[in-house]
């Protein structure tokens, strides 16, 4: 069964490349700040503090919070990129993370060459790579651009290719940062259908976004992060009701299509 459990995860970023002494002043000056010290008394930024949650098949978790609240860091930690400074993470299921549209792509290589590299990364053999190639080509719909270096693409095309590559290999756990919103409306619709199909087949989605409309539409659970801590965790509309200013929340309920109801 696909699942993902974060237990008490904390992440400290060491501040190596800065002046230690003036930093120490900042550390002790800011009582409520996120600067701290690790066990060896080196200055750190406390990016995440004691994050715990469990996701099961079919969960679509949204992450919301201001800039610098730790959303991307949490996605990286859940991807297994950052080894946590504290706590642990365990999961069952193949994970794909889409943190940055051009991530894992070589901009100088063509789209097709990038797809092949992705296939090799997934440990595929020749026939499977060929299948991946045609699947991505069909889904991304970028036409002849597939044989041009990625640096010649528009940002929307990069998003299409990256999304197609990430989802074509049927990940069981999909982590996405908000840039997916850079696609046009038609592509968004297609992307949403694909993610829905994925989640229908008992998989997990984690999406970090600033757009409450997207969160309300895509997710069935929402975590509000602030200063690296979980402020609220619950149904999207319940959390959004706390997170958004009242008039914006009303607006969200009004424009949502199909109409949303705060249950």
């Amino acid at each position: 069964m696909t699942h993902l459990t974060a237990f008490n995860i904390s992440i400290d970023f060491p501040l190596y490349h800065s002046d230690n002494r003036s930093l120490k002043k900042t550390v002790f000056g800011a009582a409520s700040g996120r600067f701290g010290e690790d066990k060896r008394r080196r200055p750190v930024v406390q990016a995440l503090r004691e994050i715990s949650f469990t996701l099961r098949s079919g969960d679509r978790l949204g992450l919301i919070g201001h800039n610098g609240s730790g959303k991307t860091t949490l996605l990286r930690a859940l991807s297994g990129i950052y080894q946590p400074s504290n706590g642990s993470l365990s999961m069952e299921g193949r994970l794909t993370s889409l943190l940055d549209p051009s991530q894992g792509m070589n901009m100088e290589l063509t789209g097709r060459e990038n797809i092949r590299l992705r296939g090799l990364f997934l440990g595929m053999g020749k026939p499977d790579i060929a299948r991946l190639e045609s699947d991505v080509e069909d889904f991304a719909e970028i036409g002849e651009f597939i044989d041009l270096p990625v640096r010649n693409y528009s940002s929307g095309m990069v998003v299409r290719l990256a999304f197609a590559m990430a989802t074509a290999a049927h990940p069981e756990i999909l982590l996405m940062d908000e840039w997916i919103l850079a696609g046009d409306a038609a592509f968004m619709e297609k992307a949403k259908r694909r993610v829905e199909a994925m989640v229908r087949h008992a998989d997990i989605l984690i999406l970090a976004s600033h757009s409450s409309a997207t969160i309300a539409e895509w997710c069935n659970r929402l975590i509000w992060l602030d200063a690296g801590k979980i402020v609220a965790d619950g149904k999207p509309l319940e959390v959004l009701a706390q997170y958004l200013p009242p008039e914006q929340f009303k607006e969200l309920l009004a424009v949502a299509h199909p109409p949303l109801t705060a249950s």
């Binding site: 080894q83 706590g87 943190l99 070589n106 990364f121 997934l122 499977d128 049927h170």
Partner: protein
């Protein structure tokens, strides 16, 4: 797990284990276990490392007519011009000196590219390291593979020089192969050691580059170790130089000169020390590297 089709199941079966756990640092036992796991997963992905290395070389020469054979040509031109100049300066016979110089320079270039690429093997892959969970071994292998490809193109120059000057070649040459394999082991170990060190301390690559410049002059590359036989003091310099032993185990078979047992033993000791230090360095830094990017 619910699958839609049989092909899906086939893809899933081929992919990596879906189970993954990580936790805060718990000391050396956990560090070595995770490092070993990284190596295992990385070696399984060697076709990816190879494809990345080939792409690196191809991109460097994309659009040029000769492509990577520019490597062969530029090395050939350099050795040709240096050979005649230095043969004259050192008052040596060009028929003896040119094969020595060709072999030495090309081997040295390989060795120094293993060292300098080791420095950049992780910082150069920042996008991949911060973007996906990928074994770090993939990046180390990629840099070794890339240097191997370059070396492969340069071997042509050695072959041409040997053919033109009619150098007598015996099966003894084949002893260079185990020597080169030992180099690859060294290069791979160095990638972890220097790669991590250079990612943490950004001044280190520059320091290593300048040290390699000095090493080039104090190691018998363009000059022969024999000319020091009258300078006992200078001989100590060679005796303390690990590059000399490492060079000699490949160069001697290629040039048909004697290779003493102690030379081989010393090269093996250098490798053993390097592998051991690198293993500790990798176990220690593996979990921290993403933070240093």
């Amino acid at each position: 797990m619910t699958d839609f089709t049989g092909t899906d199941r086939a893809i899933r079966a081929m992919q990596r284990q879906p189970h993954f756990t990580t936790s805060a640092d718990r000391g050396w036992a956990q560090r070595f276990r995770l490092a070993a796991q990284d190596l295992r997963e990385g070696f399984i992905l060697w076709p990816l490392s190879w494809a990345l290395a080939v792409a690196d070389i191809r991109l460097r020469y994309r659009g040029s007519t000769l492509g990577p054979f520019w490597l062969t040509l530029s090395t050939g031109v350099m050795i040709g011009s240096m050979g005649f100049l230095y043969a004259d300066l050192f008052h040596t016979d060009i028929h003896k000196y040119l094969p020595y110089l060709a072999v030495s320079i090309i081997l040295w270039n390989f060795l120094s590219s293993l060292v300098s690429d080791a420095c950049a093997c992780f910082t150069g892959a920042e996008g991949l390291i911060k973007g996906t969970r990928m074994p770090l071994t993939v990046h180390a292998l990629r840099s070794v593979f890339r240097d191997m490809i370059v070396f492969g193109h340069n071997i042509i120059v050695i072959v041409l020089v040997f053919v033109f000057l009619g150098v007598h070649v015996t099966p003894y040459v084949l002893l260079a192969v185990p020597g080169l394999l030992l180099w690859l082991v060294n290069g791979f170990a160095l990638a972890f050691l220097f790669g991590a060190f250079c990612a943490r301390f950004r001044d280190v690559p520059q320091i290593i580059l300048s040290l390699m410049q000095i090493a080039f002059f104090v190691t018998p590359v363009i000059w022969n170790a024999n000319i020091l036989s009258t300078h006992p003091g200078a001989l100590t310099l060679i005796r303390l130089n690990p590059f000399y032993y490492v060079m000699e185990i490949v160069r001697a078979p290629l040039l048909g000169t004697d290779l003493s047992f102690s030379m081989v033993a010393k090269a093996l000791i250098v490798t053993a020390v390097l592998v051991l230090v690198s293993a500790f360095a990798f176990a220690r830094t593996r979990g921290r590297l993403a933070y240093w990017m």
